[in-house]
């Protein structure tokens, strides 16, 4: 009997101990959905959060980390239990969920904020997250497309390095010289470049070709310029044979492209600033550098293309006010300067891009004002996926596969494809 009573007393005490901390501090726990991170990045995050807790002792931040970001976010939103803060890339999570009304309008917060204002961001990045007057996200970065090149290979051929005066034709001429059979076994083992097939959007963009009209009611993929441009890219594989052959339709992921360049199979990579920090870590065997995408023709205006991500607050977030405080903190000049000092990303915040931390980052290029020049001319070209959705986008890519592997020409594939897409577009509201 005594035993029993003692046990119940101990249990009661134990239960009280469990409840006590949550009663004592009325902390609000907000969640943020993050990409899986390296241990170093996690350590940095923990440090950042220490600073955050000093500012807001009554908020606790719980990161949820995943490698299947898009699907995880979708599922969390669908279950009615979304994270309080999420990252949304303009052509992926944002394109999929923003039109369905999954994100809050942040305009009221921005109007009151002393840290984040419209002028704080590059217009080109900020405006991408505005939908019918509602600001559904605030941009984190404005990653630019670029060309990464293997300096050793250029030196071996006695070629000058690509620079901001180069045109696409200059790139092709260099690639022709850089494609060769180095070990003399009759098989080409060094290619001029490695090209991901999805890069066609950026190649067309750098030539100023819009895939949609102003109000996004017409898909303009059958114009002579668009057809000619897609064919030019396809010729890199099929006619000139200067690009690393496609290993498979899905083998055009960033990792495969990166591998083509890292392993010294290709002299140039059509790439983006998102790859630079990785290259700096993995490439030891040769010297490399980076430059902006080439010009369409000599003296043509430069157009850099951009891929950007933003912070969003899902509509059903439990603590939107606290979530906004976290976003304000993460995008503040101090925190962002710390970010850009150690990563290869290009910030979407003007003062951060002009800061010493960003400009003196040791990652290539040596002259990092190049990115600011790029940003000034940067544009985001509406991608098919954003307007047409994932399914039609997949259909476009599957049809273009035939062009990339030389089974059909761009002129055969693109007009009927465009006609079909416009029929689908007309059915949408």
């Amino acid at each position: 009997m005594v035993n029993k009573r003692m046990v119940s007393i101990i249990v009661c005490i134990a239960l009280l101990c469990c409840i006590a901390p949550s009663v004592g501090a009325a902390k609000k726990t907000i969640t943020i959905l993050q990409w899986m991170q390296s241990p170093e990045a996690q350590a940095r995050w923990d440090k950042l959060m220490e600073q955050f807790y000093e500012l807001y002792p009554d908020i606790e931040v719980k990161p949820i980390r995943t490698n299947e970001y898009t699907i995880k976010l979708q599922t969390m939103v669908a279950s009615g239990n979304p994270p309080d803060v999420a990252e949304a890339r303009v052509q992926w999570e944002y394109a999929m969920l923003a039109p369905r009304g999954a994100f809050m309008d942040l305009q009221p917060y921005i109007e009151k904020s002393t840290v984040l204002s419209r002028d704080y961001f590059f217009d080109s990045a900020y405006d991408l997250f505005n939908m019918n007057g509602a600001q559904l996200g605030v941009p984190i970065n404005a990653n630019l497309t670029c060309i990464v090149y293997n300096k050793d290979m250029f030196d071996a051929e006695g070629l000058p390095y690509p620079d901001e005066t180069w045109t696409w034709d200059d790139i092709l001429q260099a690639a022709l010289k850089l494609t060769k059979d180095v070990d003399g076994d009759g098989r080409v083992d060094q290619f001029g470049m490695v090209v991901p097939t999805w890069y066609f959007i950026h190649y067309l963009g750098s030539r100023g070709i819009n895939l949609f009209n102003e109000d996004q009611t017409q898909f303009l993929f059958d114009t002579p310029e668009a057809i000619e441009s897609v064919q030019w890219l396809a010729d890199l594989w099929t006619k000139h044979k200067v690009a690393v052959p496609l290993a498979g339709a899905a083998a055009v992921g960033e990792r495969d492209v990166a591998f083509g360049f890292e392993s010294g199979k290709a002299a140039m990579s059509l790439d983006g600033t998102w790859s630079i920090a990785d290259y700096a870590e993995t490439i030891q065997a040769f010297d490399w550098d980076v430059t902006l995408l080439p010009l369409a023709s000599p003296g043509a205006p430069r157009i850099a293309t951009m891929i950007t991500g933003s912070y969003v607050i899902p509509k059903k977030a439990k603590y939107p006010d606290e979530a906004w405080k976290l976003i304000e903190f993460l995008l503040s000049p101090e925190v962002r300067k710390g970010d850009v000092a150690r990563t290869g990303e290009v910030p979407a915040q003007i003062p951060v891009a002009n800061s010493a931390e960003f400009l003196s980052n040791p990652l290539p290029p040596a002259d990092r004002t190049m990115w600011i020049r790029g940003l000034e001319s940067a544009r985001f070209f509406i991608e098919p996926v954003t307007v047409l959705g994932m399914e039609l986008n997949r259909e476009i890519n599957q049809a273009l596969d035939q062009v990339w592997i030389g089974k059909k020409t761009a002129a055969e594939v693109m007009p009927p494809l465009t006609k079909r897409m416009n029929e689908e577009l007309a059915k949408m509201d």
């Binding site: 098989r187 496609l246 290993a247 899905a250 599957q398």
Partner: protein
């Protein structure tokens, strides 16, 4: 006497349920709910964000006008037609070889079984490199004998055959089951046959195959089910391309559910696949009295 026997039976039944309970609890907690939900969702339109809306049979009707659906069904059928028999023969032959009384045969068994334990994604990535048209091992070996290998995964013609061939990587799993079956065949049968003057060939066809037929039956059923559910390799290696040449049924289902956010349609696809597999396994079951022999069975029914 009688009473204690019935309590024993009772105890045994209870034990049985207890042993099966992890699966039963798991089934009711985690599987039954989603099954029921997907059945209901198949009659609804749901994009995960907005509330589901009842649309009756539209999802099923839509399937028949969806060219991607038909092409995915065709791709999966071709894959199964070639892949299932190939795997069955491969694992049977391997099992026969590994059933020889040789010193160190266990090592061979382990080696052949090992690939089946490796994760699907890792295998996919490995084979992607083997199939690489320029730097891959396969085309390199072909070039040694003067053949210019195809583009494999980048070719509409060769992508599916490439995946079928690579499916043989998993024959070790079937081999283990066949081995167990082979070792369960009583040696007396062979001895008796030898006395009657049977040669190896006779013994194989008259004893081994009939005695193994329940195992063949099992492996065939499992092979059909798993090949209709093929997903990982195509997802990792080809994304269903080029030009949908490797868009398997379940991959299309996955895209509909998680990329196009059409949960209702994807649920309907899942149920249709269930019916297809049910029909096929039903056919195999129906045919089984003609070719499957059980030891306890009296012949000639």
């Amino acid at each position: 006497m009688n009473k204690s026997k019935s309590t024993l039976l009772h105890r045994e039944a209870l034990d049985g349920w207890l042993y099966a309970s992890p699966w039963i609890i798991g089934f009711f907690l985690f599987t039954l709910g989603p099954i029921v939900a997907s059945f209901v969702l198949a009659f609804m339109k749901w994009d995960l964000v907005n509330p589901p809306r009842w649309i009756g049979l539209d999802n099923y009707l839509r399937m028949f006008n969806d060219s991607v659906f038909w092409s995915s069904l065709k791709v999966t059928a071709i894959y199964s037609c070639f892949g299932v028999p190939l795997n069955l023969f491969g694992s049977l032959i391997l099992a026969l070889l590994c059933n020889q009384k040789l010193r160190g045969i266990e090592i061979f068994r382990t080696i052949y079984y090992l690939p089946s334990v490796v994760s699907g994604v890792a295998i996919g990535l490995l084979w992607k490199w083997l199939f690489d048209p320029t730097f891959g091992l396969i085309n390199y070996l072909l070039s040694l004998v003067g053949i210019e290998g195809p583009m494999w995964l980048a070719s509409e013609t060769w992508a599916l055959p490439a995946l079928i061939v690579m499916g043989l990587w998993g024959v070790g799993g079937g081999m283990v089951i066949f081995l167990a079956g082979l070792q369960g065949i009583p040696l007396e049968l062979y001895e008796a046959a030898e006395l009657d003057g049977a040669n190896r060939w006779n013994k194989f066809w008259q004893i081994t195959i009939p005695m193994l037929s329940p195992v063949i039956f099992f492996n065939l059923i499992m092979g059909i089910i798993s090949s209709f559910q093929t997903f990982t390799y195509a997802y990792v290696m080809t994304g269903g391309g080029p030009n949908n040449a490797t868009l398997f049924y379940v991959l299309n289902l996955y895209y509909n559910a998680f990329l196009y956010l059409r949960m209702g349609y994807a649920s309907a696809l899942a149920w249709f696949l269930f019916l297809v597999i049910l029909a096929l396994t039903g056919l195999v079951f129906k045919s089984s009295p003609m070719w499957v022999y059980y030891e306890s069975e009296v012949k000639g029914r």
